[in-house]
Symmetry: C2
Subunit: 449 residues, 2 copies
């Protein structure tokens, strides 16, 4: 039996998920829009045998308050499906996962982009399916589409896009020069989809992707999000502050998979974690403190208040006072599961605003500050106790956070036999130990075991 | 005064615009979906100092008739906005122009993609704005949107996308580490567009493109197409079988520019031409004949019949008989100007079906078979007599057609002082001799002279 390794994804956002990262000494201030930075990071991740890098995305500038906006480098950012093709050329093994939303895109368009990226990268593409955190105002609407409608559309979007990827069977391109036959038209399947949200005839004007379908990732952890993940996802990203939360999430989402005829191992669950590491605990803590000191508290608290949306502007309350929870928590149209996680955290730990703020500088994901040994201990505990199939590492700052992790933590994980020393396969699916999906028209609609 | 050179664009489509190209000896049969082919071609074009490569696109498989489809390698193809970012990494000077339609895309999405490509390539992106030849069936419709509506939408699309590119002034990203100010919010302009087709608030979540706006190309030659080009285009692609047609087109489209406050030199008109060249005329003719022999006449005639849409299936008539023009030519929803060009050709030359077929294997563009000297003579005549600012070379076969042109014709053009020996500038706009557009919010809405 093949040794079971944990999976590692790299979550990249601007030049670091921490709002102070761009102000660190030695980092070019515009590094978040510099291709050189991303090339370095991608090649370093590949040297560290990461499964994939994963780019987040938004289709709006979420907060126009001048005080917040002036301090938000991620208000201007890369389009993931433009940057990843460029990174495909400068890497050979690393998976390349782009976030793209199902609410303000059309399935034919995304089917083509991901099919082309999969082709270009030799089977290393992944799609992080989201329903978007906003953006209606840029797509002919007054407001963001409501949560329930977004998930209905996402379910149908998945059916259409996979149907388009199945337009041609794997061996439909024959290219027989003698006869002049380029395509075997008996291996063409016209979709003819008509549903509540989409009417798409097909076929796609692209060959079937090398991986059958690009690896499908899903990050929504609300109830409809879990259901969609259980039915469709290969990779599931989630946020969990404690091992118990992570265990409960994994049991739940893998438990839901059975009714869709899927084996629990066909979903890999990767909790997000922000790792700040150095040879000693004191040095690691100093790195984190340096980042924290570069944040503007008022701007950060306003950003966090919008993000968790509990009906309070935390920037208007004393930093060292308690978090003023209102009696009635408003219904939120985005970040449903993140709102719940933060409410649980507040009720569990009763932090001051300052303490809460320090815990939420990775978007609600866990922050782990430690030596390579203590980080590896933590990863091993979660991995062996059913809390994680691996981790999505939220890099607080680039390129330093990636360099530290690959140089310090990866060798320690490898030494303990927790992580690969060579890529096992050629495609992202092969490296993740995931089956290649069959073609619904040719293989009876089953995923191959 | 700087010497006036002709401009050269390279039209790339699959592994050649000629339907027989993939069957040539020595060409990998799946080369049209091979990145290695495109990398070779792009680097060769750059060695030949081409201004830009230009990828065409469609959002459907236009003809599902099995006899035609089986012989159509371009039924499966690259997404241009996925391939061009990859080519940006392996080139340094070449312009990269992607076709994208305004009928089935949203301006916010395309604004981001082209802004990112312009950033990634250091100011070498171009957008070939089309209203699409079809695809409604893949975008929630029973039929393709009608011509007049498509152009109305295109006009508004242009206003929105350029407004989004102007969201941030050129120097809005300040990145001042000391103060923690990343963006100068006084240089933000929220679009707040509300029109008949689009409601888009903005701002774009990307910096202003290095070129201000990517180079805008336009290929529609119908009356609304010419109007749109006169108002918006930097580059105009067109099809002309004779110098007189080209001269009349240039006079017309540049003449229309004045009413939009534009100088005639701010539009560069590039007629398409398919060049088959070799050291001797006999060798060049033999290359072309070899390609022609690789076409299936019935499939090709059916394709041509659809394309020119004059109400006759040419494949059902004798090859050596006259072209049976019906008394009433049907109104066409696509290729309006191409239909007119072909009707003019038939009435002027009264060809047999076989002769017409041989003239239309480059999509209605002129086919020039000659030595480097005769090709250069032809180019010089068109260039000096007001028939062209340069040419969009339709490469019949890849990579051979590109290798031949760069190795044989380019040196001859350079020897005559008709073409550059070094790139003049850093961006595509600079190489084309085009002004950088000002920001409508900051520079009074004027293009800089």
């Amino acid at each position: 039996m093949t040794q079971r390794f944990l999976k590692l994804g790299a979550f990249l956002s601007g030049n670091g998920s921490h709002g102070g990262s761009w102000r660190l000494p030695g980092v070019a201030p515009d590094a978040g829009t510099s291709f050189d930075l991303y090339r370095h990071v991608a090649q370093k991740l590949e040297a560290g045998k990461f499964d994939a890098l994963f780019m987040n995305d938004t289709v709006s500038v979420p907060e126009l308050d001048p005080h917040v906006l002036a301090r938000n480098p991620q208000a201007v950012r890369w389009d993931p499906l433009t940057l990843l093709p460029a990174l495909a050329v400068v890497t050979r093994h690393l998976g390349l996962i782009a976030t793209a939303n199902t609410t303000y895109n059309e399935p034919f368009t995304l089917a083509r982009r991901f099919a082309s990226l999969d082709q270009l990268s030799g089977g290393r593409a992944g799609w992080n399916l989201v329903t978007s955190l906003g953006g209606g105002e840029n797509y002919n609407r007054d407001d963001h589409v409501l949560h329930a409608q977004r998930y209905e559309r996402a379910e149908e979007f998945f059916n259409v896009i996979t149907g388009l990827w199945d337009s041609w069977e794997d061996d439909a391109v024959v290219g027989d020069k003698d006869s002049g036959i380029y395509l075997d038209v008996d291996k063409l399947h016209v979709l003819n989809h008509k549903g509540p949200h989409f009417q798409v005839k097909g076929p796609l004007n692209a060959p079937r992707p090398p991986q059958g379908y690009p690896v499908l990732a899903q990050a929504g952890s609300s109830d409809p999000g879990r259901e969609l993940a259980a039915r469709t996802a290969d990779l599931v990203f989630t946020a969990a502050q404690t091992l118990e939360e992570a265990q409960a999430f994994i049991r739940d989402v893998k438990g839901r998979a059975a009714k869709y005829g899927r084996h629990p191992d066909s979903l890999k669950v990767l909790p997000g974690v922000s790792v700040i590491t150095a040879p000693t605990q004191a040095e690691a803590q100093a790195k984190y403190d340096q980042l924290q000191d570069l944040l503007d508290p008022a701007a950060s608290l306003k950003g966090i208040s919008n993000f968790i949306n509990i009906g309070v502007d935390l920037s208007a309350h004393p930093l060292d006072g308690p978090v003023p929870l209102p009696d009635v928590i408003p219904e939120t149209n985005t970040h449903k599961s993140r709102q719940r996680l933060v409410l649980d955290l507040i009720r569990r730990e009763n932090p001051t605003i300052r303490q809460l703020f320090r815990k939420l500088t990775a978007g609600g994901h866990r922050i782990l500050i430690g030596t390579p040994e203590t980080v590896a201990d933590d990863f091993a505990a979660w991995f062996h106790q059913g809390g994680a199939d691996g981790f999505n590492i939220m890099f607080s700052h680039l390129p330093g956070g990636v360099d530290d992790f690959v140089d310090l933590v990866v060798p320690e994980l490898q030494r303990r036999g927790l992580f690969r020393t060579e890529y096992e396969g050629r495609t992202l699916r092969e490296n993740l130990g995931l089956a290649r999906p069959g073609n619904r028209f040719a293989d009876g609609g089953k995923r191959r075991a």
